[in-house]
Each structure stands twice: as C-alpha cells, then as structure tokens.
C-alpha cells in the first residue's frame, strides 16, 4: 500500500498550484493507468487520510482510469489487452509497444476563485 505516499506527493503538487492560483480547490482530477501500480480505491482511502487538516480536505477526487493500449511492432495492430496477456491477438507477436496505461498523472484542478 504505497497509495499514502502517492497521496502525499499529490498534496505537495496541489499546494504548489494553489500558491499560483489562489482559491478553494473543489476537485482534483487524476489519470491512473491500469499498469501504473496504483489502485484507485486504495488511493481514495489514502487521500481521505492525507488531506485531512489541509485546505484541500473538501476537494473531490476524480479519477479517470486509463486502460492499457498497445501497438504491435510487427503488424501495427493497436489493441487493449488485459494486463496479464499482452501478445498481439492478430499475429501473436509477444513484444508490444505500450501506448497508454502507465499514467499516474495529476491532470487538473477545479478551483473556486
């Protein structure tokens, strides 16, 4: 469970942003890939703990889950496999280039000014 460390890193970045953009942070928008190693529910739980007592305690966490997307370097097929079976469904080439699904990104903040 490293989601608490992740939540604390988020708070640092949100603090930086709110210094530049004063106001009340209403929502925190994230993109989390299925292959990022971070669990959305565990992060929500950690966020509740991490933001308590900060100016962001009321902010809503909005998590967009990003599915895995890969491209086959051999036949060019783009597909969205399960994270435990990456091979190309068309030509069964094992190695695939990952296009999306590893994101762990603070996308934006909604701030009331």
């Amino acid at each position: 469970m490293h989601e608490l460390s992740i939540a604390l890193s988020m708070i640092e970045q949100i603090e930086e942003q709110s210094e530049k953009h004063p106001g009340t942070v209403r929502s925190v928008n994230l993109r989390i890939g299925v292959l990022s190693g971070v669990d959305a529910e565990a992060l929500r739980f950690a966020w509740e703990i991490a933001c308590a007592g900060t100016p962001f305690a009321e902010a809503k966490l909005v998590i967009e889950s990003i599915p895995l997307s890969v491209r086959c370097p051999r036949c060019g097929e783009t597909h969205s496999p399960d994270i435990w079976a990456l091979a190309c469904p068309r030509c069964i080439t094992p190695e695939q280039d990952i296009l999306a699904g590893t994101e762990l990104e603070l996308t934006s903040l909604e701030i009331d000014t």
């Binding site: 992740i6 190695e95 934006s108 909604e110 009331d112």
Partner: protein, 218 residues
C-alpha cells in the same frame, strides 16, 4: 467562479527527477546499478550474498538493502562485501530515489563497478518508483507458484530480467518451469529469464555473465 487549472504532471515527478539525476551520476561514475525486487522470502538476500561472495574478488561492489525494520540483511550481506548499508524504511513499503540518494552519502561511486540495491520485499509498491537503476531484476522463487507474474503483472512489466530462484527445489514442490516461463512472457513478452539456485550454484555463472556484460569497458 470555478476555473479549471491544467496541471498535467506526473504525480511522482519529484521521484522521477531525482531518479534521473541518480542515473546520470551512476553513468558518469561508470558504476552499474542493479536493483532487486520480489515478494518477501523469495531469496533476494541469499542470492545477493552468493553473488557478491562469488564476484567480490574481481569486482568492486557495494550494496544497499531496504527493509521496514532490522539490520539483519545488511549484516548478512556484509559477510560478502565491505560496503553495505541498510535502509530502514519504517512503515514505508518500498524504496524511493530520495532514500537511495541519502544512503549513498559519503560513498565514492567512481570507485565501484557494481552497486546492488535490494528493495523491500513487496511485489506491488516498488514498481512505481524509479531508483535510477540500470537494470531491475524481479525474483520469483520456485516455491511461490508459477502464476505469480499473472497475479502481479505491474512489477514484472517494469522489470528487465526475471530470476527464478530456489530452482533446486523445483522437483520437490512440483514447480512447472514451462508454465512459469509462459506466465512471465505473457505479462512481459520477451523478458530474459534465468533460473538460479544460490544453494547449489546452478545458474549463477550465467547470471554473473549477464551482469558483467552491462559493465562499461574502461
């Protein structure tokens, strides 16, 4: 008025930036840094003990070892090599770049050939943290079951080499090599896999040769 402030930054940006700096330092010092991740009890320390005692005569090596508590692993590893530091993380389930940076204080990196980093035994959390290493090795012991990679795909996907440890026990625990290789390949297609036994020495030579191939010729 509500406004949307675009941020678009990696949540672990701070770690990523520091890891990049560490990687630059390691490259400049010509030290090959290899990290080891696995579940607790898969044999990281035993493997490293064996590896280091075998190569200590011909290479200059150091090791960092992470655990939540105790200095037991560092004590074990220091039998094989003089420069060992324990990182006790307290409650934290992984190593991060900041801990590595701090633990390296006072060490002369350019006097080393290899720096080995043993991560906290955990197949989940270490996957998100770049430590600046050149190679990440994931260990899977024969006693753990062939489908571990399918259950913990992220750690396998972010590693460069899979080591199947305790291979001397394969028969006793009816470990199916082929299924294990297939699981690893399904999660991280094309990943190099080596089978080793720290106890019998099987596979150690091939592993050493692979690590030595990463050294920059001076």
């Amino acid at each position: 008025m509500t406004r949307l402030v675009e941020v678009r930054s990696a949540i672990l940006k701070e770690n990523d930036v520091l890891a990049r700096k560490l990687r630059e330092r390691f490259v400049a010092a010509h030290v090959c840094v290899i990290s080891f991740v696995s579940s607790p009890g898969s044999g990281k320390t035993t493997f490293l003990e064996k590896l280091m005692s075998r190569i200590a005569a011909r290479h200059r090596i150091a090791a960092l070892v992470g655990d939540l508590a105790t200095e037991n692993d560092a004590a074990r590893l220091s039998r094989a090599c003089a420069q060992v530091r324990q990182i006790t993380t307290g409650t934290i389930c992984h190593l991060d770049a900041k801990m590595i940076d701090k633990a390296l204080e006072g060490w002369k990196l350019d006097e080393l050939d290899f720096l080995f980093i043993e991560n906290v035994g955990n197949l989940v959390c270490p996957s998100s943290y770049d430590l600046g290493e050149q190679m990440r090795v994931v260990l899977l012991s024969a006693t753990e079951g062939e489908d571990k990679p399918l259950k913990y795909p992220t750690i396998f996907n972010t590693s460069d080499l899979a080591l199947i440890t305790k291979i001397d026990l394969a028969e006793a625990v009816e470990f199916d090599r082929e299924t294990a290789h297939r699981s690893i390949n399904s999660v991280r297609p094309g990943m190099k896999i080596l089978e080793v036994s720290a106890k019998t020495g099987a596979g150690m030579e091939a592993t050493e040769a692979l690590f030595e191939s990463l050294l920059v010729p001076v």
